[in-house]
């Protein structure tokens, strides 16, 4: 019942956020925070009780067994890691949105987003996975479209149509898979024998769906628009959860389910990953818009995740998962602060910024810490993630992967150059008298501090993340032999 309640409670609580606004404007945010803590408590309980390997906490709700349309929920170490991120971001995003306009509708959509998000990570039935997957689009569309920046409507429409189009390929893949395997259940699909041609078709169709969500070059064009136009807390959801859905889907429903086909396509994945890393890196270097730059750095990091996954080994997968955790924590703080910079200076452009450190040292110190983590400073999650991914890729593909550390240097380059132009240096004349340019209120500082604490903690003690899913990954790694 724990997993089902984690899905249903946010959805059932959502209308109360809407109704509650009419009574008191504070009800929606406290409700959302309560649900966030509920998710966190449930996840903590699940992690504490988790036996260490395999699937646990199975729940099977039979709806139509002949068609295998059953809500089958269970979690393993991998899902638990992502559920923990979901709960963590639910709390921080709520705190970051403390003073949002129209709180009723906003938190209604936040809660309507969280329920299916848990479902994506906890569902072992492919059709239900798709149902949850697809439903997350709707709240996101309204979040971007209503609370977004000036070009929000274009971004929301593009986001919805683009990702829905991708999901169509995923759905076709699911249908072809069902007709050949006669089941949607992960347990039965594991180790299924399919005709090699069909299996490759399924793999390609599903990969298009996952690749757009991750996103990787050349399917990434929706992301910079969506990220730039979305309000900052929603950018956190986009980067921290929505992109993880793509990587998680690729891992669970392609690499574990069709290991031999994935091995066949591994060089393709590696090629796309390296392409993504370099392309996004160069785009970020050329970008003057600060949030767009962070968005491209996010694509750059997802390239590392894909690179880790493309090394079809236990080491690669566990490195990719770690990178996912690190990315969720680090990119969130960067998006939040990029949004705050625009809020305070009324400009998005790095060329118009300068010397912010002198005026708001507290916020900018946090920004610098976040940027250093994204670059891969030892002692933060960014370092461990990139290092393990590179080692795994090097191990699997050999010397050719020597180019990847160059990309890491590229990342350091665009971030440092941005810091030098926007944060350090002399303070601009225009900012000297600017009234809005001041430190954040406490409630908005809490989530930022939480992100920093989390990625430093995870960076110093990586084993707390690795230990959660390594037995699972090692067990699945037997399939790749």
């Amino acid at each position: 019942m724990v997993l089902l309640s984690m899905i249903l409670l946010p959805i059932l609580a959502a209308p109360f956020a809407w109704l509650g606004e009419k009574v008191n404007k504070d009800i929606p945010k406290y409700l959302s925070l309560t649900v966030g803590f509920f998710l966190a408590l449930c996840t903590a309980y699940l992690i504490a009780k988790y036996p260490g390997s395999g699937f646990a906490f199975e729940e099977l709700y039979k709806i139509y067994p002949p068609f295998d349309f059953n809500l089958h929920l269970a979690v393993d170490g991998i899902s638990l890691t992502l559920l923990a991120i979901t709960a963590f971001l639910a709390i921080t995003v709520t705190l970051s949105s403390w003073n949002i306009e129209k709180p009723g509708a906003y938190f209604f959509l936040v809660l309507a987003f969280l329920g299916p998000m848990v479902g994506v990570f906890a569902s072992l039935n492919l059709l239900w996975f798709f149902i949850f997957w697809e439903f997350t689009l709707v709240p996101m569309f309204f979040h971007i479209g209503i609370w977004g920046a000036e070009n929000r409507i274009y971004a929301a429409m593009k986001f919805f149509i683009y990702t829905h189009l991708a999901s169509v390929f995923l759905l076709l893949g699911i249908i072809v898979l069902f007709l050949n395997a006669h089941t949607f259940d992960f347990m039965n699909l594991l180790g299924i024998k399919l005709d090699p041609g069909i299996a490759k078709l399924i793999w390609i169709l599903m990969f298009i769906g996952f690749a757009v969500k991750m996103p990787v070059v050349p399917f990434h064009t929706w992301l910079p628009d969506a990220h730039v136009q979305a309000p900052s807390p929603i950018s956190v959801f986009l980067a921290g959860l929505l992109l993880k859905m793509g990587a998680y889907g690729l891992l669970r429903w392609e690499i574990f389910m069709l290991p031999q086909v994935s091995k066949f396509f591994a060089p393709l994945m590696a090629f796309i990953a390296v392409l993504t890393i370099f392309y996004a890196g160069f785009r970020a270097l050329a970008e003057d818009h600060i949030k767009r730059m962070v968005a491209y750095s996010s694509i750059n990091h997802m390239g590392f995740v894909l690179l880790g996954l493309s090394a079809i080994t236990a080491a690669g997968i566990s490195a990719a998962l770690y990178e996912m955790v690190g990315h969720a924590l680090i990119i969130s703080i960067l998006f939040m602060i990029a949004g705050y910079i625009h809020h305070k200076t009324h400009t998005w452009y790095i060329s118009e910024l300068g010397g912010l450190m002198k005026k708001i040292p507290g916020l900018m110190t946090m920004f610098v810490i976040g940027v250093l983590a994204a670059v891969g400073l030892p002692g933060t999650a960014g370092f461990v993630g990139e290092l393990t991914v590179m080692v795994a890729a090097f191990d699997y593909y050999g010397w050719i992967m020597v180019i990847v550390p160059l990309a890491s240097a590229l990342g350091a380059g665009f971030f440092m150059w941005m810091l030098q132009r926007a944060i350090f240096g002399p303070l601009r004349e225009a900012f000297k008298e600017l009234k809005t340019l001041k430190e954040l209120p406490a409630v908005e500082n809490i989530p930022l501090a939480m992100y920093i604490a989390a990625f430093i903690l995870v960076g110093i003690v990586p084993s707390m993340v690795f230990n959660l899913y390594n037995p699972v990954v090692n067990a699945f790694a037997q399939l790749f032999k």
Binding site: I63, Y64, P66, F67, F69, L127, F130, I131, F132, E134, F135, L137, V138, F141, F142, G145, I146, R152, I153, A156, M157, F160, I161, H164, L165, S167, V168, F169, L171, L172, I175, V176, F178, L179
Partner: protein, 471 residues
């Protein structure tokens, strides 16, 4: 046919027949008329629920099987909700009782149509379903509805004429109208194929399938939207089921010839419908062309008639369609009544004016677009599954791409409602009982969501039908 089902149909038709008479004598108010019709609906629904057991009669003309019961019940609910909304938006019109009477009789015709297993009863039932709608289309008495009415009448006459010609060819070959006998006697023959094409053409008019779709949007746009809800949602769903019976029960002999025709028609119909819908400025025309596109999706399942799951696809799509299309047109009708909103520009900011109504409209639009967890999603899953299963992956891909592009105009309406600033300043009508109208629409939304997750009733009914026709 089960006697209870027949009694239910008759009660519905008689309620319809006597409503104008009662009105002439007692001059009843709108609310009373709605109550009387509701009683008719409830009694009919109760009897249809009981139609599982009881005496059988007219068994060479009609059948009461699982499909009839399920679709009959759902058509009845959709029609009831349509009746309530129509009453509410036109309550001040003096001919409202006549309009609702026509709606009841047409629904009775639809109930007979879905149980016909004989071409005679099929054509009579189809005429019973269509005749009242000829009057209903004319209901707003303006130039546009006159044009729509004439167009609809001639197309309907042409449709029934072509269908009768096809049926008479079949009679010439076998000497029978009965589906069971036809299925046994028919053989692969060019004449049979010709007859089948004429019959399909007749159905094509009813379903607004390409190339017989031209009248659809003009009529749905010209008439008052409550009537359009009946025409697109209920009549078309019933026609889907009737076509399913014809194809699976009467014409299995040439089903392999039909596959390609259906596949081609499906691909063209949905593409044409979606492309034209994208180009429209008026919301009613968008919904009309989306209904053309949805006819195309159903034809995909027909094209896959070699595999059993195609029955599930047809049935599920009809079930989802009857609720989502009817309800979408009803939402349009209510917006037209309250705010006079016709075009996309008028829809700007209506989400802020009518949050709950717009939310319901959004549910129906998302269901039409095939977004889970609404029934429109799972029905599309079944439809495309049947196409892939029948070895027509290309058709499934065409359908899925169409469905993905169709999202553009559904979400465009959502965008106009929620993301733009209002343009209309003052409501056209501002009745005090505004929240009452949400109830019928919410009922339909609940049906859509429940049927989108609880698939058992529809899949069980289709399983019974599959075993009956013996795949």
């Amino acid at each position: 046919m089960n006697i209870n089902f027949l009694a239910g149909t008759l009660i519905l038709a008689l309620t319809g027949a006597f409503l104008p008479v009662i009105n002439r004598i007692f001059r009843i108010s709108g609310v009373l008329g709605a109550i009387i019709s509701s009683v008719g609906y409830i009694l009919a629904g109760f009897l249809i629920m009981l139609s599982g057991n009881g005496r059988k009669l007219l068994s060479s003309f009609f059948v009461t099987d699982s499909v009839t019961q399920l679709i009959g019940m759902l058509i009845l609910v959709a029609s009831w909700m349509t009746m309530l909304v129509v009453y509410w938006i036109t309550q001040r019109d003096k001919f409202i009782n006549e309009l609702v009477a026509a709606l009841l009789i047409s629904t009775a015709g639809a109930l007979l149509l879905i149980s016909s297993t004989n071409f005679v009863s099929l054509i009579i039932a189809m005429e019973l379903m269509t005749m009242p709608t000829y009057l209903m289309v004319l209901f707003s008495f303006d130039e546009k509805s006159m044009e729509a009415g004439v167009k609809y009448f001639f197309n309907g006459a042409l449709a029934i004429g072509t269908m009768l010609f096809g049926v008479s060819l079949l009679y010439a070959i076998t000497g029978s109208f009965n589906f069971e006998i036809l299925a046994k006697e028919l053989f692969r023959d060019p004449l049979v194929a010709l007859a089948a094409i004429f019959i399909l053409a007749g159905f094509g008019f009813k379903l607004t399938a390409f190339p017989f779709h031209f009248w659809g949007p003009d009529v749905y746009d010209g008439t008052c939207p409550g009537v359009a809800a009946l025409l697109t949602g209920i009549s078309k769903s019933a026609a889907f089921i009737a076509l399913m019976r014809v194809v699976y029960e009467a014409l299995p002999a040439i089903s392999s010839n039909l596959t390609f025709i259906f596949a081609l028609l499906a691909a063209i119909t949905m593409t044409v419908g979606n492309l034209l819908a994208l180009a429209q400025k008026r919301v009613s025309r968008i919904l009309a062309y989306s209904s053309v596109a949805h006819a195309g999706y159903t034809l995909i399942a027909f094209a896959a008639l070699a595999v059993p799951v195609s029955v599930t696809g047809i049935l599920y799509h009809s079930v989802a369609y009857v609720f989502m299309k009817t309800a979408a047109f009803l939402c349009f009708a209510v917006f037209l009544y309250l705010w006079g909103a016709r075009t996309m520009d008028d829809y700007k900011g209506l989400g802020k004016r009518e949050p709950l109504l717009a939310a319901l409209f959004l549910i129906f639009l998302l269901s039409l677009a095939g977004v889970p967890p609404m029934a429109g999603f799972i029905s599309k899953v079944f439809v495309f599954t049947s196409a892939v299963n029948a070895g027509m992956t290309w058709l499934a891909l065409v359908g899925l791409l169409n469905s993905a592009f169709s999202v553009a105009y559904y979400i465009w309406i959502a965008k106009q409602m929620y993301l733009e600033e209002p343009t209309i300043e003052k409501p056209l009508n501002n009745p005090s009982d505004k929240n009452f109208i949400l109830i019928p629409l919410a009922v339909m939304a609940v049906f859509l969501i429940v049927l989108g997750i609880w698939v058992n009733p529809v899949v069980d009914a289709s399983a019974a039908f599959i075993s009956k026709i013996g795949f």
